[in-house]
Amino acid sequence: MASMKKSFLLICRRAPYGQSLAREALDVALTAATFDQQVAMLFLGDGVLQLLKGQQPAAIAQKALDKQLAALPLYDIEMVYVEAEALQQRGLALSDLALPAQALSADAIAEQINMHDVVLGF
């Protein structure tokens, strides 16, 4: 079968646990990576809260999203971007996040959106 490798950008805009969209983005990321697609994740607005270290959602019967996201590099998903302004607005720094991420300006985010084959919002 011919190789159909595409670049995916997943844009995550929701805080974790409020709805299922954060989990769904993770499912899509891992599925695409399993099929050898190139996957990057961008956390925008409240989405940056998905990456916050130290989540303890056992009492609301959820799995800790930060720990699952921290495993992304194991699936060869190395490109994790966060909106610099969103971090700043929420009083957060890169060191508060559960995995290494690159902070991007709005202009740099526009470039990323334009350069990917498939851009999915969550």
Binding site: R13, L44, E83, A106, A110, G121
Partner: protein, 98 residues
């Protein structure tokens, strides 16, 4: 070419349009469903939508449904379903904000 951003939520109820406008740079935006509210003449989203480098389309059927067709700012282009398809074919990538 360039990216087509399809927005489907009202800017008065969701961050979808604000998030899109913050990071889209120069782009084409199509407002559908409740996002057509952003194109009502004289509302506060008109100014950010008229900034340089943006081309804004509004889906006619969703304006008609809401009684808004005569109230859409004249700078924006109304489009029908075939136009919607054409926009999707002419742009890459196509992404949705909801």
């Amino acid at each position: 070419m360039g990216t087509l951003h399809i927005v489907s939520k009202s800017p008065f109820a969701s961050s979808a349009l604000a998030d899109c406008l913050r990071v889209c740079g120069e782009a084409t935006i199509l407002l559908i469903e409740d996002a057509v509210n952003a194109a009502i003449a004289n509302n506060e989203w008109i100014e950010p939508l008229k900034r340089d480098g943006l081309m804004v389309y509004v889906l006619q059927s969703d304006c008609d449904a809401r009684g808004l067709s005569q109230r859409i700012d004249s700078k924006f282009a109304l489009t029908d379903y075939p136009g919607f398809v054409r926009l999707c074919c002419e742009h890459a990538p196509v992404t949705s904000w909801y």
